[in-house]
Structures are given as C-alpha cells and as structure tokens.
C-alpha cells in the first residue's frame, strides 16, 4: 500500500494517484508549492500496483 509522501521542497503532503514519468524518471508535482519531487518505485509483488518512495527534488533535466 502506498504510504504518504511529502514534498522534498516544502515538506507538505503530496497528493497524487500516479506519478508522472519524464525521461525514465518518476516525479510528483506538489500542489502546494509547485515543485517536483523525485520518486522511485519500490519492489512489489506481481500484479500489485507499484508503490513509490521519495528520493529528493526532481531536477527536471
């Protein structure tokens, strides 16, 4: 089950259903500050929806 993630820039809770993917890197846009937080997928069992953990600020490059 997906745990609550927090924005790497402003620390507010991230509201999302599915992360976005740009250039093979997953990220979530914070509704509070607009910055993007980089996330990576956790290992899950087959057919279980992927869950994600934060890894820092998404540079966007």
């Amino acid at each position: 089950m997906q745990i609550q993630l927090f924005c790497a820039t402003c620390a507010k809770p991230l509201v999302f259903k599915v992360p976005e993917l740009t250039g093979n890197r997953w990220h979530i846009r914070c509704e509070s500050c607009g910055a993007r937080t980089a996330v990576e997928a956790n290992r899950t069992k087959p057919e279980e929806p992927a869950t994600f953990s934060t890894t820092g600020v998404h540079s966007g490059s």
Binding site: K17, V18, P19, E20, L21, N24, W26, E40, A41, T44, K45, P46, E47, P49, A50, F52
Partner: protein, 238 residues
C-alpha cells in the same frame, strides 16, 4: 500529460464511443515502473492492461533461469489475452521493459464487454492474431537470423512503441530479452554504432538512421508490422 489519456492506447481509441464509455468507469490508471511484473507464469490474471506508454515484454524463463522474450506490447495493444481466450493464466511472465503508464481493468469487466460480441471482441481477437504473428516470427528469427538482425528487429519493434527514437536499456537486459550472452549484444550493438545506425551510451540507445536500420533488419520486422497494419484499423507511430 497527454500520454495518460486512455485513448492513447490505440485499441481503446478504436472502440465505438458507446463501447468506450461503457469501459471507462472500470479503467484505472497505474504506473508501470521498469521491471514491474504484471503477472507471473501460471498466475491467474485478475486484470487486463492497456498501456498508454512504455513497453511490456512477455518472457519465458527456463528452469535454469535463462529467459527469452516472446513478444512485446506497447500502446498498440493489451496485456492479458488469456482472460478472454479462456485460459485465465499463461506459461509466461509479463514484465515492464520500458517504464510507462497503463490503464488496468478488472477481469470481470473485460469478460463482460468481450461477451457482448461487438467491436471490442473483434478488436481483441484481431490484436491477438497480431500477437501470435509476432511470437511466431520471433521464433523464426531466433532460429534462422543473425544476432545483428535480431537486435535490429528488436530495436525497431521497441521504437515503434515509444515516443521518439530513444530507448533506455542495458545490454544485460537486451541479452535477456534476446536469450543470448551479453557479450554478443555488446558486439552487435558495437557494429551498429560503428555503422552510424545507433548511438549507445550508458544504457541510452538512440536510433540515428532508421531507414538504414530497416534495410539491415531481416524480413521478420516487416512481416510483423505488415500483419499488424492488415488486421487493425489504426497505426503505430512509425
């Protein structure tokens, strides 16, 4: 976020409006990270998947751990044909080869729509025939054609399912897909790079001269592509 629209899956886009609206409430957007397993060999499927981006590989893994790719699916098709073919499970594994997004739909909703016998059923069956063609041609290619040709075929089929001409894939992973040693992929990719057809650096493969790659590939690529065009009323990106 245009590529997250359900109609970026070409099967869903080809449905009549009435059929599409019937399915829409049951379509759930999910992320498909690289390496995520949609289903394992022998596992009863609970969902069907309609990719809108990324690529899913169907693999067979032998008892000694070697693997070989049987087919690939991107936004031109669906993953989980055994749900409407009646088998409920298969002997292969479906794993995400290139990360993306998909819409998944519960098996019950899929079977309900398939049982109506309308356009969804027709599209699903025609897509299945293209998949069979792809699988059969992969078998022929692996038996009769060189590794260079197999790599060209695999690159072209993959790029057809992605936006742009770039693929992010390690040589080890390509070797697993083709069922060969990594060293062989290194040599074959090196030859393509030397010929100026691709650039390959740190897992990033960029197809530089697609027409030249299509000349170098064996007949298997065209067989698969032409059969797809014949059976389905929409086109892949290439």
């Amino acid at each position: 976020m245009a590529n997250r629209d359900p109609r970026n899956n070409h099967l869903l886009a080809a449905l009549p409006e009435e059929s599409y609206q019937r399915l829409l409430p049951d379509l759930d957007l999910i992320a498909m990270p690289l390496g995520w397993v949609l289903y394992e060999s022998g596992m009863p499927l609970k969902h069907v998947y309609f990719p809108v981006s990324g690529i899913v590989s169907l693999l067979y893994v032998t008892n000694n751990g070697a693997s070989s790719e049987i087919s690939i699916t991107g936004n031109e098709g669906l993953v989980g044909i055994s749900l409407f073919m009646g088998g409920e499970s298969t002997t292969n594994r479906a794993v995400v080869q290139c990360a993306g997004h998909a819409y998944r739909m519960p098996a019950t909703a899929l079977k309900r729509e398939f049982a109506l016998g309308g356009e969804f059923q027709h599209l699903a069956l025609r897509y299945t025939q293209t998949l069979i063609t792809q699988m059969a041609q992969t078998s022929v290619c692996n038996r009769h054609h060189t590794l260079d040709q197999q790599l060209c075929r695999w690159l072209l089929l993959s790029i057809d399912r992605l936006e742009g001409a770039e693929l992010i894939m390690t040589q080890e992973l390509i070797a697993n897909m083709l069922g060969v040693r990594r060293e062989g992929v290194t040599e074959a990719a090196g030859r393509l790079q030397q010929a100026g057809l691709i650039s390959y650096s740190r897992g990033h493969i960029h197809v530089l001269k697609r027409p030249a790659l299509e000349k170098r590939v064996c007949e298997c690529y065209a067989v698969v592509k032409n059969e797809f065009r014949r059976l389905l009323p929409y086109q892949m990106s290439a």
